[in-house]
Amino acid sequence: MTTSLKSLNQLPVKLTSGHRLCAGCGEPILAKQILMGTQRPLVVSLSTGCFEVSTTVYPYTSWNVPLIHTAFGNGAATCAGVEAAYQSLKRQGKIKEEMNFVNFAGDGATYDIGLQALSGAMERGHQMLYVCLNNEAYMNTGIQRSSATNMGTDTTTSPAGSVSSGKQGYSKDLTAIMVAHNIPYVAQVSPHNWRDTVEKAKKGFDCGGAAFINAITPCPRGWRTAPSMTVDMAKLAVETCVWPLYEVVDGKYALTAESLKIADGKAEKKPVTDWINAQGRYRHLKEERWAPVVEKMQANIDSRWEKLIRLTEH
């Protein structure tokens, strides 16, 4: 099946509308794209977070596929448990069909509290796809910093103040940590490029082992952007190389989509100031005194980008 809008439009709806996520939330957009990556029977698991509390408010559910949530830091183990049951029952001949398993979790549930469970599940090689809906802070609890939060970000636990420029230190490169697990498929995606995301989701579901996809997922509340700007913000993250699009298949790196064009010189690499100026969470960085912070942010983006170029042997 080709990844065309016409064909994707025909697929059954797994996550229904009517959920309680905010207007402009990037999570359902991204999740729907991921869910289009498999036509097999699917079980979804969710780590505690916005996506979970907004789609499973008893006695209603937004899910047309089997769904499980247990807690915050253990989405990977939850998904792995369903997969373990499947492996056992399939081996016993009690289930015939090939099935897929996916966990959705925010960056807090992935980069921070769930890192151990995620690492364990990836190392054991469960046949599952783990998707991080990375909106770069704990948005469900009211915009607190996580280790996915970038330097200079104003959050409620790393507030910009008279002596602070917001979050100190750089964000953790979790995608690289997942690559280090030697799993068959790792990728970064952005919801603005649906084709790239759906195709990567397919590869993740089809890889026959543990797969990890990290998705930049704009949050209008936390990023202080208009709900109408979500897809634009996701695109800008890629255009500034704040969030490069790439995949690592069996250890081999490859840039994709806009990031490939930037590397080839066919598209402009926009400055971090475009990214900063577009979002209220960086408003304070326009002050002259924080210019060195902006410089450090740009330098960090550049060095990460150059490292990625080297890894892709581009």
């Binding site: 079980v43 979970e52 769904l67 247990t70 807690a71 253990n74 792995a80 369903v82 049951a85």
Partner: protein, 391 residues
């Protein structure tokens, strides 16, 4: 009765649990090693490695993931077992009430061990008691044989359609887990028949009938769901009694919600949990030889609390000594207030004394228990007493 009577074997408590699990042959087992539970997972790993079971065995990276994986696997439709102890159970704690609220009938063996700190690997009941209020059924064993028997009966109680709750089978660390005793196994075919096929409710893997598990509740649904768990706990008492009866038919071995030893004509009763129930029986015999009418009782099912049976046993007695291998620091041992509460319905309340003993694996000898009972009879005991403390 059983088709075949098997020869007695010499086995330790952990080995006995693993043996029962091999006979039951669960679909999934996920566990993390921790002393003194380790032999269970080691033995079971060997059964998996040698193809003696069909189980999908997952060596997880922590106990938190062990219980998570088991809860999810059981929700997915697989009969699932795990085992832990002490810090492992503490690390699982977040998942304990989640597992019971999801009505997941999984089975967990707990090799009871003192909870840090200070770090201590020996037996007491601090781990099981910290799990008390989490909605799990809890069974206690007094020897290797009952550790094995509980492992066979547990899934029957947990999986009953009226119950659908997770269950812990406790066995005292080292005293039961590592000590070799004589044990009569049940024929594997009989075990399989007794335990039966797993019939999951709304399993996730039934994708043609999708269901959502582990959802968000507002206050009213939360309260109602908690009350449903209370009702299921009440049912578990009835179901456990029934399972004990069936097990007696199969094996001749008799268990009750509260096991009793020479209680009927006793004037003084000792209530005690776990392996010390055996030590207490020896104490009772020696005191009976001296003409003192004492009896001993052990709640075989600790959660749900078999209050009616406790009340019946202590009714009309002069005094009751309640022995706790754990203490709620700044209050009492956990059994004490519950036995007192059971007595409030009696016309005449016996005198009630709490004895804290065996903390962190401190020795529990017949002489310590006898001394405690003598202080009860003399009336010299305090309301709460710390016995067997050497320093």
């Amino acid at each position: 009765m059983a088709k075949k009577k098997l020869e007695d074997i010499a086995i330790n408590g952990d080995g006995a649990v693993a043996y029962a699990w091999k006979q039951i042959d669960p679909d999934v087992c996920a566990a993390y090693p921790i002393t003194p539970q380790t032999i269970i997972v080691e033995d079971f790993s060997k059964f998996v490695a040698n193809g003696e079971v069909k189980t999908e065995y997952v060596c997880v990276e922590s106990e938190h993931s062990a219980l998570t994986l088991c809860a999810a696997s059981c929700s997915a439709g697989a009969r699932t077992f795990t085992a832990t102890a002490s810090q492992g159970l503490a690390y699982m704690w977040e998942m304990l009430p989640i597992t019971s609220s999801m009505r997941v009938p999984l089975v967990m063996a707990v090799a009871n061990r003192a909870v840090s700190g200070p770090i201590n690997i020996n037996n007491d009941h601090g781990d099981a008691m910290a799990a008390r209020d989490t909605g799990w059924i809890q069974m206690f064993a007094d020897n290797v044989q009952s550790s094995y028997d509980n492992a066979i009966m547990a899934p029957r109680i947990a999986e009953h359609p009226d119950v659908q709750l997770p269950i812990i089978t406790n066995l005292d660390g080292f005293i039961l887990t590592h000590a070799v005793e004589r044990m009569t196994p049940v024929d594997t075919d009989d075990v399989k028949k007794f335990v039966g096929e797993f019939e999951p409710v709304c399993p996730l893997l039934d994708y043609k009938h999708p269901t959502s598990h582990g959802m968000l509740d507002g206050p009213d649904f939360y309260y109602a769901h908690k009350h449903q768990q209370v009702e299921a706990m009440d049912k578990a008492l009835e179901v456990a009694e029934q399972v004990f009866k069936e097990f007696k038919k199969l094996t001749g071995r008799e268990y009750h919600l509260v096991d009793e030893y020479r209680c009927e004509d006793a004037e003084y009763i000792a209530i005690i949990l776990g392996s010390s129930y055996g030590t207490m029986q020896e104490t009772v015999d020696r005191m009976r030889d001296a003409g003192i009418k004492v009896g001993a009782a052990m709640p075989h099912i600790y959660r749900p609390w078999p209050e009616k049976e406790i009340a019946r046993i202590i009714k009309g007695k002069k005094a009751v000594a309640i022995f706790d291998k754990h203490v709620s620091l700044g209050a009492y041992g956990p059994l004490y207030p519950e036995v007192v509460a059971a007595a409030t319905d009696l016309e005449e309340m016996p005198k009630m004394y709490n004895f804290i003993y065996g903390i962190g694996g401190a020795d529990t000898s017949v002489s310590i228990l006898k001394g405690a009972m003598e202080s009860v009879i003399k009336g010299s005991a305090d309301k709460i007493n710390y016995v067997g403390m050497k320093l």
